[in-house]
């Protein structure tokens, strides 16, 4: 069981900077999700941990060991590729046995371990089948088993569920989570799906354009985003972000929204408002925190998505659009004029210029 330390990692590909000065610690036995949109550098980060890429600057440590220049062959990390990279010319058995064959494990022990892991992953029935042409669900278990059999203390998974269709994804998520709980390895999981990250990770690290945005427990990052990017990236739908200006009216703080109307700031929100260096802010609140309020902001309903348990109501247009999530009983129709306001303690303030939160340190 090992912790991973990325110290001042920079990675450039020619002129392109894929990762800018990143410091990240993955704790021993933790399930950390690297979350971000395509091209944010999360896969590159993982490739650096695995040794498939060397950082341009900075060091990588497993525990106390500096492994920055240790070749990937010798790092002993488990790795599951997005497309699984199963050895298609070998049987299921041979795939599982590969790592043990390479390190010279004696035949009897090798066979025992393969049988064990095959049973655990429910692959025993197809052990001697060729691995080419098997279903994605089986391939994923095989990919995991092939690495897990070597009992690595660090396990890296590169978007392993992106090829799995939506229906099975939930099942596979549970399986993966269970596996990590059982083996207690340090696991780093790359994904662009924030729901996946929320349900599976102990902590999440959000990245955008090569910069680490925020690290914390899923709920913590969800509730207290450090900047606009994190605020809109987490949550389904993302946080409503409305530009506006801070106003002090007789000691009470407000945010005057560009789209019209004002939101009153109370308590610590008001304090943050007063401490702000600039009046130009973005006022954020999550769609689940929207309630109907006769004194609230007036908007017309443009679209209603009734998707079973929830109803997502789209209001307004363009930069002045707001989404609200209600249960499936809410009575709203396209074209309705409504008045809404965020719940107390749901308001998040960000400096318009820098995008940084005014409330989170």
């Amino acid at each position: 069981m090992t912790s991973i330390h990325l110290d001042n990692i920079v990675k450039k590909f020619g002129d392109f900077t894929a990762i800018q000065t990143m410091n990240l610690e993955v704790r021993d036995g933790e399930f950390l999700a690297l979350l971000g949109p395509s091209g944010c550098g999360k896969s590159t980060t993982m490739n650096i941990i695995a040794g498939m890429e060397t950082p341009t600057h900075g060091t990588v440590k497993f525990g106390e060991r500096d492994i920055t220049h240790v070749p990937m062959q010798k790092r002993g990390v488990g790795f599951v590729f997005q497309n699984y990279a199963i050895f298609t010319h070998m049987s299921v058995y041979e795939n599982l046995a590969y790592g043990l064959r390479m390190n010279g494990t004696p035949k009897a022990e090798l066979d025992r371990k393969v049988q064990e892991i095959a049973e655990f992953l429910e692959l025993t029935a197809i052990l001697h089948r060729p691995s080419a042409g098997l279903s994605v669900n089986i391939l994923q278990r095989l990919a995991i088993g092939r690495s897990a059999i070597l009992e690595p203390s660090i396990f890296l998974l590169d978007e392993p569920l992106s090829n799995v269709d939506a229906a099975f994804r939930a099942v596979m998520r549970q399986e993966l989570k269970q596996l990590q709980r059982n083996f207690k390895q340090t696991m780093v999981y790359v994904t662009h799906d924030q729901l996946e990250a929320m349900t599976m990770a102990d902590r999440i690290a959000v990245m955008d354009h090569g910069v680490l945005q925020q690290v914390g427990t899923p709920i913590d990052v969800y509730n207290n985003p450090r900047n606009l990017f994190v605020a809109q990236f987490l949550g389904s739908p993302g946080m409503n972000l409305l530009p506006g200006a801070l106003a002090d009216r007789g000691g009470d703080m407000f945010v005057d929204l560009e789209l019209g109307g004002s939101i009153a700031l109370k308590g610590s929100d008001a304090q943050a408002g007063r401490a702000a260096k600039s009046r130009d802010v973005v006022c954020g609140f999550r769609p689940e925190a929207v309630q109907f309020d006769d004194a609230g902001v007036s908007l017309s309903v443009t679209f209603v998505e009734r998707i079973g348990a929830r109803t997502i109501v789209h209001m307004g247009k363009g930069a002045a659009s707001v989404k609200a999530v209600f249960d499936n009983k809410v009575a709203v129709n396209v074209g309705d004029q409504t008045r809404i306001a965020p719940q107390d303690n749901a308001i998040r303030l960000f400096a318009a210029q820098s995008g940084e939160s005014l409330q989170v340190a």
Binding site: A50, H89, L150
Partner: protein, 310 residues
């Protein structure tokens, strides 16, 4: 249950298509008939006779000189034939593996990037592009006892090297093989490079992460995946060795004596110097059958389905 008999209607739609196909390929079929089938039949016909150009009659009357299988039994008792076959085997046994290994080595090298890669690539292809007869003459000059190769060896070793490459019966075959290797390694290189490029990169990375050394990766991932390409390359080369003629003939004319007389040279000599055309016809057919068996055996290695090759 109503059936719109789709099976029959589909079949009816397909039948005209296949007849059209037949008509369209007719010219090609006729061509093959003339170019391949008729000559073979002629050859078969002649091989059962004792006809030579000196027989004083047209070949069409070769049946008058019918001798049945005697040409064939003479062939199997002919030490010169076996000698030629043996020498061909030597070339296959030595030159082809060397070409293969060199080609593989070069192809592996070309999987990396390095400075001057494009230049080296072009240079490597040059030998293949030289007319075999010209190459033959080139090596003839190079391998002279007072020629450049001996000169180079002298310079390198400080001794007075004067190897009689082309005139020493034991060495001549090696000179010929060196020429063949020089000419055809590039082909092996190209075929194997194409094969190597088809090996999925991710699987190699996965193998490395599982602890495989470069050699282990090569043995367990690369080789199995290029198995088919290797078989094809070797099959092509082996069949070509039977056909070696230009380069060799200009270098040694099959000599000294019969020291470098491989099968094709043997055919040439018997035909032109002894005019035993029907004998050569028989010999040619025997070799054809042998090579066909080889080709079929090679096809056994080809994958049965599209998936298996990956």
């Amino acid at each position: 249950m109503t059936h719109s008999s789709p099976q029959t209607s589909n079949a009816a739609k397909d039948a005209p298509k296949s007849r059209l196909g037949l008509w369209l390929t007719l010219p090609a079929q006729l061509l093959i008939l003339f170019v391949a089938v008729f000559p073979l039949l002629m050859q078969l016909y002649l091989s059962f006779s004792d006809w030579t150009p000196l027989a004083g009659r047209s070949w069409t009357r070769a049946h008058e000189l019918w001798i049945g299988f005697w040409n064939y039994s003479d062939l199997f008792a002919d030490p010169r034939f076996w000698g030629a076959l043996w020498r061909t085997m030597i070339v296959i046994g030595i030159a082809v593996p060397v070409e293969f290994l060199l080609g593989l080595g070069l192809a592996t090298l070309f999987m990396q990037d390095f400075r001057g890669k494009k230049v080296l690539y072009s240079t490597l292809l040059v030998p293949m592009m030289i007319v075999p007869a010209v190459a033959g003459y080139m090596f003839f000059l190079l391998f002279q006892s007072d020629g450049p190769i001996n000169g180079l060896l002298s310079a390198l070793t400080g001794l007075d090297v004067s190897i009689r490459w082309l005139t020493d019966p034991d060495l001549a075959i090696f000179a010929v093989m060196i020429a063949d290797i020089w000419q055809w390694t590039p082909l092996m290189f190209l075929i194997l490079l194409a094969g190597l490029l088809g090996v999925p990169r991710e699987q190699l990375t996965a193998a490395t992460l599982l602890g495989a050394s470069p050699w282990q990766r090569f043995r367990t991932i690369v080789l199995p995946k290029i198995k088919v390409i290797i078989v094809i390359a070797l099959a092509i080369r082996v069949i070509e060795v039977f056909k070696i003629f230009d380069t060799l003939f200009i270098m040694t004319a099959g000599g000294p004596g019969t020291a470098t007389e491989t099968i094709s040279v043997f055919f040439y000599k018997i035909m032109t110097l002894e005019l035993a055309w029907s004998y050569v016809a028989a010999a040619g057919l025997v070799i054809l059958i042998a090579l066909s068996i080889l080709a079929v055996a090679a096809m056994y290695f080809l994958p049965k389905s599209k998936e298996a090759g990956k």
